[in-house]
């Protein structure tokens, strides 16, 4: 329960911090950190325009997308405190619930019959497919390391001791951060600020959404950011008491947001046709983590 509330709280300012960082780096004053949420609230009050090509899929998809993110957040633990849902192998459930939301967001893009939205949908499907094994290998390695199979047990019993474990921690943070970028369609996979439909991935999929539905989709992105930020924060919380973990949680969320902002300010998007290979590299890094774990446990013989 505690993680659910904290992630909702973090989601309110997360994208705001990214935008603020980017504006400061580029020498602008920039909007306040609550601006993205204010935009969402404004959208929630608006009416909507629907394409006449669309069907019921287009109506239900944003709600399902939003609900799937909410459900996934319920699985995320907070250090030694369980999420609302916790069972053995819950991270599989986490991934598959998110996949359902993705399924609907893809078919809702196809529902408009637009060539651009189909293109974005195709890219999104491909990239998330390539990102999937990285997450699973990472969690499998943690399961091997800790002997546990649920999010909360894994994070609670994750100890950093030997020098290898620090390297593994760094690599795991890197993989999780990159998966976040892929899942949220941010740099260096996708540029949310691009002005050309041809070069978009996620933005082009939601071209036809408006009003309440668009608000939900945008807020789901904020939630997803905070959710993955929480996963990264969990790597470092261990079994500290609550008065330490809550500041750690917010600290890491803010650091992560600033890092994303800096990354987006100083890198360019990768070439579209090399994105898939790049994402697949994450799986190799995850495999590296796995071999590191094997090394730690002395299973190479």
């Amino acid at each position: 329960m505690i993680s659910f509330i904290l992630i909702i709280l973090a989601s309110i300012f997360f994208t705001g911090i990214i935008i603020r960082t980017k504006s400061i780096v580029t020498g602008r004053k920039g909007p306040g950190i609550f601006q993205p949420v204010k935009d969402v609230i404004r959208l929630w009050k608006k009416g909507a325009v629907y394409s006449k090509t669309t069907s019921f899929i287009f109506q239900i998809a944003p709600s399902i997308y939003f609900a799937s993110v909410l459900m996934a957040i319920m699985v995320v633990p907070f250090g030694q405190y369980k999420g609302i849902i916790s069972f053995e192998g819950d991270f599989v459930f986490f991934a598959y619930v998110l996949a359902l939301g993705k399924f609907f967001s893809i078919i809702s893009a196809l529902d408009t019959g637009s060539s651009f939205e189909g293109m974005g949908a195709s890219r999104e499907a491909l990239y998330s497919m390539f990102a999937e094994p990285a997450f699973f290998i990472l969690m499998g390695s943690f399961a091997l390391l800790t002997g546990k199979t649920s999010f909360q047990e894994i994070f609670a019993s994750l100890h950093f001791g030997s020098s290898i474990s620090y390297i593994l921690g760094v690599l795991a943070t890197f993989v999780l951060a990159m998966i976040t970028m892929v899942e949220n369609s941010r740099m260096p996979i996708d540029d949310p600020k691009t002005h050309l439909e041809l070069t978009m991935v996620h933005e082009v999929m939601i071209l036809d959404n408006s009003g309440f539905d668009l608000g939900m989709i945008l807020y789901a992105t904020n939630l997803k950011f905070a959710m993955y930020g929480a996963l990264i924060a969990n790597l470092f919380m261990g079994s500290f008491p609550l008065y330490l973990t809550i500041p750690i949680f917010f600290g890491i969320q803010i650091l992560f947001a600033i890092a994303v902002g800096l990354l987006e300010s100083f890198t360019a998007r990768f070439r579209m046709n090399h994105n898939a290979q790049y994402i697949f590299v994450l799986s190799s890094v995850s495999l590296l983590i796995f071999f590191g774990v094997l090394l730690m446990l002395g299973r190479f013989n």
Partner: protein, 668 residues
């Protein structure tokens, strides 16, 4: 005694059906077929349910002339498959009533079709019941032949006949492997009974005999590289037949493999790991091909191959578990495989039925010619969508349950302390492989659903499609209900499978069943959470509807990025949707293009055609090459078959002389 009565009834009912269906007036034949299917199902399901709850049925017909003792045996493994066959066949027969309406003119052909359907169902049932090798092969052969004849219902079309031939040849290669395997056991043990196989395994090397059986059953099941009949036969068959074939006939191969695997005694780790690797590769290969094909029934056929891979991974896990005396791995692997068998038979027949409805209304299997059907056939679209979600393993449907079990198995496999690094690596790669399969099936089914049902129509169709009849929709709704029940109450099905496994697996390998109580509670939790998820989806949608009910809604055209004359041909096609993937993995899914190059002297080019299609790696690069060489080699002997009757008479005389002289001089 009642069991033998019911079984003889199960033998007599199809015969009665075959005699009575042609005698009935034409409009009643399909319904009569359904009634007979239902009756046969009842006659076989009663002993099956009994066996599943603990009382195995065992009947021996002793001292027959040719076969020796024929033992009929329904244990819980057989009954699991019997129930799946019956469920799928009942749905198929019901759906067929509506689907075959458009062929009403072909009366003789149609009554033959229904007769064969009965034969097909009962031969599959007998395959599960018979435990005598020779007799088993006869039932197996009847099953192959009857399904072949069902596939070539439209036998006047050349390509369908060709697909049928392909199917027939491949099935007989499979039978050849099986015959060799059974004869080998017979020559060593002196019996065709299945129990002899177990004896054979206990004092011989296991790998080779298992390999023979695997080749025989694997052709039916569709493991790579033995899969190449599937993508030809499924599109050729009428949809209710493809549904039943994909739902259950390939599962007969799985049944055979499980049956043999449970008797293995040694070489378990080697067999298990090879099977696991092959299965994961099968899964990835199958879904990758499914992603690029544009014929939606071919896509579904490849997707069957993928699911066979998932089931095979479960079996592989179980064999590894047997080899390491790890009962948890054994039970999880086998229960994942068995549950996925049930699940796949449900959602695959649902998908074949709903795509059959599309075919019936549009007369095309090419998804690039379709689009926007969701407005014309909303219920069919919803059914196809549910099938797609379930086959992708997404909660709250049933596919998630079996895939979750397999994930649990792999996670456990990674952690087993006695395993060396290599085994753990294999486990984690399979774990990731399953995730890739999941991701690819998401891509495949968003593409298929999106291209067939969404957007606007890409071609003007010959007649306006409309929603299909209730007869065709009803079995699909029934399947959805069963699927949801598995998704929300997985513990019921899991404990049934657990009970099944404890009764068929030798008790040495299952020291303590009570440890699985936690797994049952885990299953119950998953069911609750899936249900919670479903409720949350509905809740969010309802809240959204309440909040937006008074807002202004404007209906306008799709945003064309400033372009004011959009055309339906500008939509993204299915082909372009999966193009990037096909290009990235072009070494597996090779694309062949046909076009004529524009020449320099052509100043005013004429209209020309450009066509591309994807080829099957194994079929194109291995089989066709070998076959072409064979045909080339055989060409040298063509002078023998020259069409002159005089020569043929001469051959006969020649061989008679040869035998005569041979016996005369004592050579023979």
């Amino acid at each position: 005694m009642t069991d033998s009565l019911l079984l003889s009834l199960a033998l007599l009912l199809p015969i009665a059906g075959m005699i009575s269906i042609p005698l009935l007036p034409h409009p009643f034949r399909a319904k009569a077929n359904f009634v007979f299917v239902l009756l046969i199902a009842a006659a076989t399901s009663i002993p099956a349910v009994k066996a599943l709850t603990g009382n195995a049925v065992d009947i021996v017909i002793s001292k027959t002339l040719v076969f020796g003792n024929i033992s009929l045996h329904i244990d819980s493994l057989s009954s699991w498959f019997i129930l799946i066959i019956n469920l799928t066949c009942i749905n198929g027969a019901f759906y067929g009533i509506g689907y075959m309406k458009k062929y009403d003119q072909q009366r003789a052909n149609l009554s033959m079709h229904w007769i064969l359907f009965l034969l097909f169902q009962s031969s599959m049932l007998w395959v599960c019941i018979i435990q005598n090798g020779l007799f088993f092969l006869i039932a197996w052969e009847i099953m192959s032949i009857s399904s072949l004849l069902l596939v070539i219902f439209e036998h006047h079309r050349h390509e369908i006949l060709k697909a049928g031939m392909n199917y027939m040849v491949q099935m007989h290669i499979g039978v050849a492997f099986l015959s060799v395997a059974f004869i080998w056991v017979y020559s060593s043990e002196g019996s065709f009974d299945f129990s002899a196989i177990g004896n054979f395994f206990s004092h011989n090397q296991n790998v080779w005999l298992f390999l023979l059986f695997f080749a025989g059953f694997g052709i039916k099941a569709g493991f790579i590289p033995l899969h190449s009949w599937l993508p030809h036969a499924h599109p050729a068959a009428p949809s209710h037949i493809s549904g039943v074939m994909s739902g259950v006939i390939v599962k007969m191969g799985i049944y055979g493999i499980i049956r043999i695997a449970l008797m293995l005694k040694s070489d378990l780790i080697l067999i298990g790991e090879s099977l696991l690797i092959l299965s994961i590769l099968t899964g990835i290969y199958g879904i990758l091909n499914a992603a690029v094909h544009r014929d939606f029934k071919k896509m579904l056929a490849y997707c069957t191959i993928e699911n066979i891979g998932i089931i095979g991974a479960g079996i592989g896990l179980a064999i590894i578990g047997m080899g390491m005396n790890n009962s948890f791995l054994l039970v999880i692997g086998l229960s994942g495989a068995l549950l996925h068998t049930l699940n796949h038979s449900l959602f695959k027949s649902l998908l074949f039925f709903s795509s059959g409805s599309v075919y019936q209304q549009t007369h095309t299997r090419d998804m690039e010619k379709l689009g926007g059907l969701v407005h014309k056939m909303p219920q069919t679209a919803a059914l196809f969508l549910i099938g797609s979600l379930a086959i992708g393993g997404l909660p709250p449907f049933n596919g998630f349950v079996s895939e979750f079990i397999l994930y649990t198995g792999f996670l456990h496999g990674i952690k087993i302390p006695m395993l060396s690094g290599l085994h753990s690596t294999l486990m984690i790669l399979s774990f990731a492989g399953l995730a890739i399969i999941g991701g690819l099936s998401l891509l495949t089914f968003t593409k298929s659903f999106g291209t067939i049902f969404l957007g606007s129509p890409r071609r003007q169709l010959h007649h306006n499609p409309s929603e299909v009849s209730l007869v065709m929709r009803l079995p699909q709704f029934f399947i959805v209900a069963v699927m949801l029940s598995i998704g929300i109450f997985p513990q019921l099905y899991f404990s049934a499978v657990l009970h099944l496994i404890t009764s068929v697996v030798p008790s040495v390998q299952l020291p303590d069943v009570s440890i699985f109580q936690t797994t049952i509670t885990l299953m119950a939790e998953i069911g609750i959470y899936s249900f919670m998820f479903l409720c949350l989806l509905i809740l969010v949608f309802l809240i959204r509807n309440i909040l937006v009910r008074n807002r202004t809604v404007i209906i306008n055209t799709t945003w064309g990025c400033g372009y004011i004359a959009p055309h339906s041909k500008m939509q993204y096609t299915g082909k372009s949707f999966s193009k990037t993937l096909g290009k990235l993995l072009g070494f597996i899914v090779t694309e062949k293009k046909k076009y004529t190059e524009l020449k320099a002297e052509e100043i005013f080019p004429q209209a020309r055609k450009h066509s591309t299609h994807y080829t099957d790696f194994f079929e194109d690069n291995i089989f066709n090459k070998v076959i072409n060489r064979l045909i080339h080699g055989m060409g040298y002997f063509r002078f023998i078959q020259n069409g002159r009757i005089q020569m043929y008479v001469l051959y006969g005389v020649f061989f008679i002389m040869l035998i005569f002289l041979g016996t005369l001089f004592g050579f023979i």
